[in-house]
Each structure stands twice: as C-alpha cells, then as structure tokens.
Amino acid sequence: MNVSLKDLLSEKKPDILNIWFDEIIDTYPADTSLFLKKQKNRFHNPVGHAILHGTGEIFDKLLEGYASGRGTGAEEIAPFLDNIIRVRAVQDFTASRAVGFVFALKKAVRSALESSVRESGDIRAGLEKFDSMVDGLALAAFDIYMQCREKIYALRAEEIEKRTFRLLQQANLICEVDEEKKDLDRGE
C-alpha cells in the first residue's frame, strides 16, 4: 500500500516542491520574495538558491527513506537542511519560524495530492507515516538551528579570544618583569 503513495509522491514531486518552496519564500517580505523566486543566479541570490536546492534534496531523501522504510534519515538529510537553516538562523526569524518551514511540507503534500488523499484510505494511512517522518525532520531542523545559534555566540567569543591572544602573551611578559617573575622562576 505504501508503494502507491511513494509513486504518487514521485509523480507529484515538482508540484509539491513548488508549493513548499513558495510557502517558505512567503515567509519573507513581499517585495523580497519575488526576488528570491525570480533571480536564478545562485551568486546573486544565495538565499533563494539554498532553499530551492535544499528542498529538492531533502524531499528526495525523505522519499528514499519512506520507500525503504528506514524513516527520516536525519543524518543524511542534515547537510541539506543545514544549508537552509544556516541562512534562516541569522535572518529576522524566531526559532519557531526559522525551522517551521519544515512543516509546510505536510501542507504542500496535501495540496498536491488533494484528490487522491480524499479518495484512498491507503494513501491517508501512508501519509500518516510520511507526516511522522516530517516531524522527525523538524526535530533535526531544530537541532541544526540551535547549532547555528550556538555557533554565532561561539564566533563572538572566538573573535574576542583572537583579539586578546597576543595581549595575553603580552601580559605574561609583563608578569615576568614584575614581582611575579620570582614565582615563575621558582616554578620552573
């Protein structure tokens, strides 16, 4: 029974991706979203490119996971998810909105498969499984989001460290000439 949903998902893949992509893009200001959609040069539009490519790859992996029954396969998906979330983590989004785009996939699948979902109980059952995979994806997304934010704070700390490293070296030097020199000498 699962096979039929798989086929359906493969068949409707372009539609699903289009809807999903639009849903994500619509989280940006109106005048920006069209730029993100229309500008196809990946260097002029890194954000749009990351989303376009990321969603395609993520969907393929999910589909593979679904077909083989392996489930979400968060580790394999992580790099693609990372490409999108790394961008959103530094944009004007709350944590929930930064990763919430994952759930939009559910909506995208439903609107693309609308009629089939209504008609077939099997498809509905299959969808439940697919949905739980998307939930798994969302959890992975949240982990990545947290890593990105932690990275930002780590970078701030690192910069300070880099800037003060030579100063600390210097401080040691000063210590040597000061009264602590004796202590150091004794220690050696």
């Binding site: 005048d31 979203s33 069209l34 730029f35 229309k38 040069n41």
Partner: protein, 331 residues
C-alpha cells in the same frame, strides 16, 4: 494611491486643455502664454539647477573604479572603466550617456539555472530605458520640422529612415511605436516588480503618465484625429519668431492637449527627478579620472584640523619609548 493621484492629475490636465479650448476659447492662453511660460520655466529652472550643482565643489576625487588601475607598465590598465586621462573619462561618460553602460552591466549572467526564465528584468530595464531615451530624442529632432521654415536635410533623412517600413498613411514612424512601448514597459514594471513598486513615489508615476499622455495625444493627432498640420506649423513658427498669433483655422483641440501636456512636462522638469539628465554629466563617481595618486586633487574648502602631534605623543610616552629602545626627540 501613489500611482492613482498622478494618473488623475494627468487626466485633469487633459480635460483642462479640452475645456479651455473648446468651451472657453482660450486658444491664446493654451497656444501661446502657457507654452512661453513653460519654456521659460524650463530654461531658467534647468540652468538654475545645473548651475547650483556646478557651484557645489567636488572636494574629493571619488570615481567608482570598474577596471584595472594604472600601475606598473606591464599591467594592462582598463583605460575606460578606470580612466586616468581626460580622453578616458570622456569615453566613459559617452558610454554612460549614450549607451547606459552601467545599466548594461546588469546583463552579465552565468551559471544560471532553470529554463529561460533566468533572463532577469535587468536586461529589459536597460533596453527599455535606452529605447525610451533614444526615441524621445529622435522624435524631438523630428519635431524640428515644425520649428524651421525649410526642414533641414538631416531631419528629412531622419523622417525617411523612421518611416521606412512604409506602413499606413500617414506613414508609421517606428520611433512612435518603440517610444510608446518603452514608456508602457517602464510604467508596467513599476506596478509589477514588487521591489520597484515598493520604492516608487508619486513623482515616479507622474512623469510616466504625462509622457505617455504626450505620446498618445501625438499619435492620435498624426494617425487618427487628423489635425491641420499647416495650422500647427503656422502657430509654432509664430512662436519661435516671437510674433505669436493663433491661426484662424487653427489646429484642433487635440493639438492643444498635446501642447499643454508638453508645457506641463517642461514646467515640471526642473523640479523633478527628470533633471537627472543634467546630473549624469556632473556625477563625481563617473566624470573624474582615477589619478589622485599622480596628481593632487585640491579641495577648495580644505581647512586645518586639530591633530595630535608627534610632540604631544612623545610627551605621553617618552619614558616607555626609551625603555623599549625607541629613539626620541627630547631625552
């Protein structure tokens, strides 16, 4: 709203001319007084504007360099994109003014994906901008036939070229078609490209509607609502010879609409963004040579500033400098 009001304003201008001529018989006002006034405002306004810009000094030499600088003799300089000579600067300006070089730069694309969708609007902006400005100029030159007793040969040649398609009677001018298409495109993109819509002001829509009005009334006059060309020329010639007179069997109302819209454009010109035409020649990022390491650029208002002198510095740190073995002026 930002588009609606300018649109209504242009409609009101059209109606004003129609009512003024048809109902109030104000031919002299619309045919003579207003055009003279508009021309005067235009001339005075543009001169004032350009002079007021020109009087502001250029304190620093700040060209935007878009190519390799002049450096070691074996490194090829980009003489136009990064000029160091007047010839280079002039060429750069000519490319800018006549071919919209900088806008054209947007064209370059590579590694694009997807189907032909990938051609961005930038290329169209350049093409439409260029077509618009060039056809506007050509049409203006063509209009010289109304302001000269004997139509100059170049103007005649232009007319021939312009109508070489030999469609319709009177012959269709290609510039008319391109002009209207370009203006329409420039207008439509203000409505449809969200970024451009977001930044557009009433002052961006108004000139477009006005120019569109001028174009449409002109086309109507030439191809559809025929007006008495002889009468038109009689009037225009009387205007340029400063002995204004409204011909008895004067041109039709449509002519007055056309003329009134032109007058409005002329009068509006110096106070609007349309003066960019004069401004482009004065733009310091384009009209200066990048030679400020070779020739000193003088800032007329350069003034002395408070600095922290070496002496003060040494006074602050003399002992530390001596300890570190750094030579000092005063022991």
């Amino acid at each position: 709203m930002r588009a609606l009001l300018p649109f209504i304003t242009v409609i009101v201008l059209v109606l004003l001319a129609i009512v003024g001529v048809e109902a109030a018989n104000l031919q002299f006002l619309f045919g003579v007084v207003i055009p003279y006034a508009a021309a005067a405002i235009f001339l005075a306004g543009v001169i004032y504007k350009v002079v007021s810009w020109g009087r502001v000094p250029v304190p620093f030499r700040i060209p935007t360099t878009c190519g390799q600088q002049k450096t070691l003799p074996w490194i090829k300089q980009s003489r136009i994109e990064n000029p160091t000579t007047s010839a280079g600067v002039i060429t750069r300006m000519l490319l800018e003014v006549f071919l919209f070089r900088s806008l054209f730069r947007n064209l370059k694309t590579e590694l694009r994906e997807g189907p032909q969708l990938s051609y961005g609007s930038d290329k169209w902006l350049w093409l439409a901008g260029l077509s618009f400005h060039w056809t506007f100029l050509l049409i203006l030159i063509r209009h010289l036939r109304f302001f000269t007793q004997n139509v100059p040969i170049p103007v005649q040649m232009l007319e021939h070229l312009d109508s070489f398609l030999q469609i319709g009677l009177p012959l269709l001018y290609i510039t008319d078609v391109i002009f209207l298409a370009a203006v329409t495109f420039l207008l439509i993109r203000r409505f449809t490209i969200p970024q451009v819509k977001y930044i557009s002001l009433a002052a961006d829509y108004f000139p477009l509607f006005l120019i569109l009005g001028i174009g449409v009334s002109g086309v109507l006059m030439r191809y559809f609502i025929k007006t008495d060309v002889v009468g038109v020329k009689e009037l225009t010639m009387s205007l340029v010879s400063f002995s204004p007179a409204i011909p008895k069997d004067g041109p039709g109302t449509i002519f007055y609409v056309h003329l009134f819209l032109i007058s409005a454009l002329f009068a509006y010109f110096p106070f609007s963004k349309l003066v960019h035409m004069g401004g482009v020649f004065l733009s310091p990022t384009r009209n200066l040579a990048n030679n400020s390491r070779m020739v000193r650029h003088v800032n007329p208002w350069n003034y002395p500033v408070k600095v922290h002198t070496y002496e003060e510095y040494e006074n602050d740190f003399r002992e530390k400098m001596k300890t570190a073995g750094i030579p000092v002026e005063k022991e």
